[in-house]
């Protein structure tokens, strides 16, 4: 551990807990509290990864979550951020973007081919000739992508959770801690999160050679500890902002969906790199990175360093490094006057040379690391005088020329940001309700000012919630000069990097602007600036500056790009988490399972499609089920149908309005088909209405339409204010349809209800007991046979099924599924809403004109139907049959063709044993509806199949079987 410093107060590492790990095949030792980057830097390793495009060597840049060139793989864990992830014992780390290892990366040749790979090269090359496209794709797939995915990686469940707070403070630096303290003292339930492993932010590492920061941190943490209503959560990232102050919080274990009443953004600012030739050599880093290495991990960032600065923070960094054994060769200050004042005095008293009005023109390396810097005078216009360069040997070059606010969550919340020339950064101008900004994110930079701004934000948030807190005076932004307006040093040989994620140089931006991509959003997409894993945290501001200069505008005029969640990379496992996919099942579900049901989804429900038997095909089973219904008795679970109870003196009037038919004259004890339209006259649902008592109705809807219909009925009821009560009984009632010529005889075994046709006619409804269970029975004819729908309370559903199956044994009772039901109803020509209709189908198009009682004063969709009817039909549903012996059977949705043009589509089709041919329903053009009209259907593979329009129903056209006299 050549570069580990002696113990420092406040360091994050635990020297009593050494950790052994490997990197690129070599063994190293760090400490608990280290991250891979710090442990490796302490061990003298300088090349931690390779850049994305040119495979240039890269080391530490920020130590602040955006060192994207040091992504590493640890076994099955991909793309660990080496500047963030905790070092663990036994880690076997590899840099992700190399071919042959980080030191011997064979793809480093790409750095020499940069001239052939300008920005946007892939938009212009590799398209022609087309025959090489596949080969090029393979090349690029091999070159791109980070890490190697192990498909044997175990599934790890990372459940999400919800949490709640009055005030969520994001950022645990001075302003955030002070804001939490102020809001907490006012009585708010406060949660403070910070992405770092420990709280304190810059208080812990930007010391400037004094103890002022660490003393403030101690005080804040002490005072916060006395507030039980404040929860401090380090190691927790606020990844985004969503409407109503929903903020996803990411920690190591999970995502927490935080709902806060107010949010204070105190995330500070990202230090921005200066742009000069070879500013990416290992050893060139942000000054704050050097300070983090020192005070968090007790690692000496360099032995001999230059500080390239334009603000006070650079001088403080020089003092911090000087105090910890780093020889400072020079402070190179872009400003002609330097920093001045006591801070510069302290630096100079430490015998550190200050070169005011100078810039680092380029960095030079050897053996993949920084070796010297070339420093030249620079004037106020940013022109470098290269006549007499100073070459300064160094292994560290720390950049401190400016800041960009960590304002992504402010942007996401709709905050209007403006560019404040006085602090040369974007600052909030108008915050969204419940949002507050404090500290550097608010353009406030001095320590005392940041504490005051945090206090102000905390109090304002509390007062906004109606809590008592003293009013706080606004805090002035500044001081001026924290950020230099043009920290960009042009160089004829380039390699002055602006975006380290994507290896973008200054010339890339100039070229893009020249090509016409002179809007910040277009520039982003063409150059890909800010589209890498760090999402532009270190590049967007400089990109804006360059574009502003090209356009002769200010950064404020250029504006910034859209800030989208997530703020930092979030593991996919956290996003996937535990899935909640509700499903509903009827009370007979287990009975179906035991009978070999094959399931199919119907909305949220699972329904038996058919009942499988060993050695039998699906078709054979369905045919057997159909046969049982046509010739004996079958039983189907129809409990998924929507079921609604309606009470009240205006119930009949209500039904008259929501359905197309007439119900006021429906006798007690009878049922009637009902069709529902929307206001545009489109058929949206159907079912059966039963009049149980004078003011008590019970009706069914389609399975998938139940929730929508009930919601619509509630809406209409609220609007009309009729004296009715609606109850959704869908899940509360089990229901079966017992159907077939033997159904009456069989049912007699279980009930005292008089089932004779005279007493219980077709379309009648009766109440009584079946197998001792209170039940409602309706004689319906959906499948075209004598049948009884039996509805019972859900808690008796299983008992009803068992009793029917037992009683049906002598009658050969056979359960049947949805597939058989589809066949049976199609043979009768009965439509299914949603299958034989679509989102535009009118009643006349599907032969439901008979169900429209247009002489009623009103029903929903009535006026639209009248208008549409006057226009004539667009299409019409007809029955058809195929020619006998057709080799190919079309499927639903296959097109109807006439005279070479599309004339419609098949909606339902089945090979019917009951009618002895293949029959179906199809939409056809008007003029093709007369029986005997021939048309063709384009089946699979383009095979044309002949069909003929025939009358429906196909089976039992007189309906004698369902009426079934005794």
């Amino acid at each position: 551990m050549t570069d580990r410093l002696p113990p420092l107060p406040g360091e994050w590492i635990d020297r009593q807990r050494p950790i052994d790990f490997r990197f690129e095949g070599r063994a190293y030792r760090g400490f608990e509290g280290d991250v891979p980057s710090s442990a490796l830097w302490a061990a003298g390793v300088r090349v931690l990864g390779r850049s994305f495009k040119y495979h240039r060597p890269r080391g530490v840049l920020s130590m602040a979550q955006h060192d994207v060139n040091t992504l590493m793989q640890a076994g099955q864990r991909l793309n660990l951020r080496a500047d963030v992830e905790a070092l663990e014992a036994g880690m076997d780390l590899q840099a992700v973007n190399t071919s042959g290892g980080v030191d011997g990366d064979r793809l480093r040749i790409l750095d020499r081919l940069g001239a052939f790979l300008p920005v946007g090269f892939y938009y212009k090359a590799f398209h022609k000739p087309a025959r090489f496209a596949d080969a090029w794709e393979k090349v690029f797939r091999r070159l791109t992508g980070l890490g190697r995915l192990d498909f044997a990686t175990p599934h790890i469940r990372t459940p999400k959770r919800y949490d709640f707070a009055d005030v969520l403070v994001i950022g645990g630096g001075p302003s955030g801690l002070q804001a939490a303290l102020a809001a907490g003292r006012a009585g708010a339930k406060v949660v403070l999160v910070d992405e770092n492993a420990r709280l304190g932010g810059s208080l812990g590492y930007q010391r400037g050679g004094t103890a002022e920061g660490s003393n403030s941190l101690d005080r804040l943490l002490r005072e916060l500890a006395d507030l039980p209503n404040v929860s401090l959560r380090p190691g927790t990232l606020a990844a985004g902002w969503y409407t109503d102050h929903w903020v996803p919080l990411i920690d190591r274990a999970r995502m927490t969906k935080m709902r806060a009443r107010a949010v204070i953004v105190a995330q500070g600012a990202f230090e921005q790199p200066a742009v000069f030739r070879n500013n990416d050599l290992p050893g060139v880093m942000l000054a704050s990175a050097a300070q983090r290495l020192i005070y968090r991990y007790a690692v000496k960032p360099a032995h001999r360093a230059i500080v390239f600065t334009a603000n006070a923070e650079g001088y403080e960094a020089a003092l911090d490094m000087n105090a910890n054994g780093v020889a400072i060769a020079a402070v190179v200050d872009l400003r002609a006057a330097g920093q001045g004042g006591s801070l510069q005095d302290r630096v100079e008293r430490a015998r550190i040379p200050v070169l005011a009005g100078h810039a680092v023109f380029e960095a030079r390396g050897g053996n993949d690391r920084l070796a010297e810097a070339v420093v030249c005078p620079i004037d106020a216009q940013g022109r470098v005088d290269t006549a007499s360069p100073k070459r300064i040997a160094c292994d560290g070059l720390m950049m401190s020329t400016g800041w960009a606010p960590a304002a992504a969550l402010l942007y996401q919340s709709g905050c209007r940001m403006i560019y404040d020339e006085s602090v040369a950064q974007f600052v909030p101008e108008a915050l969204a309700p419940g949002m507050y900004a404090a500290g550097r994110a608010n353009g406030v930079h001095g320590l005392e000012a940041r504490l005051a701004d945090g206090e102000r934000a905390g109090r304002e948030a509390a007062r906004g919630l109606g809590l008592e807190a003293p009013e706080a005076a606004p805090v002035m932004r500044g001081p001026a000069g924290a950020s230099h307006a043009w920290p960009i040093i042009e160089h004829p040989a380039g390699k002055n990097f602006l975006d380290f994620d994507e290896d973008l140089q200054v010339k890339d931006f100039l070229n893009a602007a020249q090509e016409g991509f002179d809007n910040i959003e277009l520039l982003k997409r063409y150059t890909t600036v800010g589209m890498g894993p760090s999402q532009g945290k270190h590049s967007n501001m400089n990109a804006i500056r360059i574009l502003a200069k090209v356009l002769g505008a200010s950064p404020g005029d250029v504006g910034s790009t859209t800030a989208r969640p997530f703020f930092h990379p979030v593991p996919m496992s956290h996003l996937a988490g535990r899935g909640f996919d509700p499903r509903r099942q009827t009370p007979m579900h287990d009975r179906h399972e035991a009978l070999g049901a094959r399931w199919m989804p119907a909305g949220l429900w699972l329904r038996p499609e058919y009942y499988a038997a060993e050695g039998a095909t699906k078709q054979a089973q369905v045919e057997a089920e159909v046969h049982a219904v046509r010739n004996g008795v079958g039983l189907i679970d129809v409990g998924t149908l929507g079921k609604i109870e309606l009470f009240g003196p205006d119930a009949a009037e209500f039904l008259e309005r929501v359905y197309t038919g007439r119900f006021a004259n429906l006798k007690v004890g009878m049922t009637r088909y009902c069709a529902m339209l929307d206001e545009s006259g489109v058929v949206i649902d159907d079912g059966v209405v039963a009049r149980i008592a004078e003011e008590h109705w019970y009706f069914t809807t389609t399975t998938t339409g139940a929730a929508v219909v009930y919601r619509e009925l509630q809406r209409w009821n609220a609007q009309w204010n009729l004296r009715v009560g609606l109850v959704n009984a869908t899940g509360a009632h089990a229901a079966v349809n017992l159907a077939g010529p033997k159904s009456r005889q069989m049912l007699r075994q279980l009930t005292d209800i008089d089932l004779d046709s005279a007493a219980f006619p077709y379309l009648g409804v009766r109440r009584g007991a079946v197998a001792g269970i209170p039940a409602r029975l309706m004689r319906v004819g959906f499948v075209g046979e004598l049948g009884y729908e039996i509805h019972v309370p859900a808690e008796f559903g299983a008992a009803l099924w068992d009793a029917l199956m037992e009683a049906g044994r002598p009658f050969g009772l056979k359960p049947f599924g949805v597939e058989a039901q589809r066949v049976l109803r199609l043979e009768k020509g009965h439509i299914i809403i949603g299958q034989d209709t679509d989102g535009l189908t009118t009643p006349d198009e599907v032969g439901l004109g008979w169900a429209l009682k247009l002489d009623k004063p009103f029903f929903v969709g009535q006026r639209s139907v009248q208008i549409v009817r006057a226009r004539g039909l667009r299409q019409q549903l007809v029955g058809f049959e195929l020619e006998q012996g057709a080799a190919t059977v079309p499927k639903e949705c296959h097109l109807v063709i006439r005279d070479g043009a599309i004339a419609g589509r098949v909606t339902s089709i089945v090979e019917s044993r009951s009618v002895g041919r293949t029959v179906g329903l199809a939409f056809v053009a008007p003029g093709m509806t007369d029986p005997g009209t021939r048309f063709t259907i384009r089946a699979e593979g383009g095979v044309m199949v002949n069909a003929t329009v025939v009358p429906i129903p196909f089976y039992d056209p007189a309906g004698e079987r369902q009426k079934s006299p005794d």
């Binding site: 459940p159 999400k160 959770r161 919800y162 949490d163 709640f164 969906k257 709902r259 535990r578 909640f580 996919d581 509700p582 499903r583 509903r584 099942q585 009827t586 009370p587 579900h589 287990d590 429900w605 409990g639 109870e645 009470f647 009240g648 003196p649 149980i692 008592a693 003011e695 008590h696 004296r723 009560g725 109850v727 009984a729 869908t730 899940g731 509360a732 009632h733 007991a769 197998a771 001792g772 269970i773 209170p774 309370p793 859900a794 808690e795 008796f796 559903g797 299983a798 008992a799 009803l800 009793a803």
Partner: protein
């Protein structure tokens, strides 16, 4: 009527080896495992669907209940205890009445409501009814529902109608013996899904399905 009532969760509980006793004409899981007590201390979920309940709707529903001596909560989204059971006001004109052990309010009023009365309409409740108890109930709720049940707005006499793991539920806090519990009702058809999801999460928290005896002995003693 001689057919047994059946909980939506009967098969699921049977598969777990639960011991059933008939409570209120329904086979009810009184014990799921020998470790019920330990799991209930952490996070126990019991099926109490056997309790009799009925719903009422209509402009006169509150008044009608009061006339029959049934206490009615003054405000929507609140509840009052009644003879070991409860009356919850789900909306201005909608109520849920659930009998506690030994009570008969539901049976008494259900007989009068067959096809409704003027301004009073029956809601035949067939809920899957759960009881949640133990130290980690709040953890479970925070993983499954976006309502802050720790806040005063959802404590005490409050009734919360919301969604849990995508299922519409009614939730309230109820003192059951010496335990502060959460009660959850959902539609019968969603019961198995809700139960399997909640007990699965509870197991990860050291709890899981428990019998009624572990959390509501008075109901078993009945």
């Amino acid at each position: 009527m001689n057919a047994p009532r059946s909980s939506a969760l009967h098969t699921s509980l049977k598969a777990r080896g639960a011991r059933f006793d008939t409570l209120l004409d329904m086979p009810a899981a009184v014990q799921v495992a020998d470790t019920d007590a330990q799991r209930a201390a952490a996070l126990g979920i019991a099926d109490v669907s056997c309790l009799r309940r009925i719903g009422l709707k209509g402009p006169r529903a509150g008044e009608w209940l009061s006339q029959r001596g049934v206490a009615v909560p003054a405000d929507p989204n609140s509840w009052v205890p009644v003879e070991g059971g409860l009356v919850a006001r789900l909306a201005r004109t909608e109520f849920l009445v659930e009998d506690g052990p030994g009570a008969s309010t539901v049976t008494r009023i259900a007989g009068e409501l067959e096809s409704g009365l003027e301004g009073v309409y029956p809601v035949w409740r067939q809920d899957c009814a759960l009881l949640l108890a133990g130290e980690r109930v709040m953890d479970l709720l925070r993983e499954t529902c976006n309502v802050d049940f720790a806040s005063s707005a959802h404590a005490g006499e409050a009734v919360t109608l919301t969604q849990m793991v995508g299922v519409s539920v009614t939730v309230l806090r109820q003192q059951v013996g010496s335990r502060a519990c959460h009660r959850v009702w959902c539609d019968y058809s969603a019961g198995v899904y809700l139960w399997e999801t909640l007990t699965g999460i509870a197991e990860e928290m050291g709890g899981g399905a428990v019998g009624i005896a572990a959390v509501w002995p008075a109901l078993v003693a009945g």
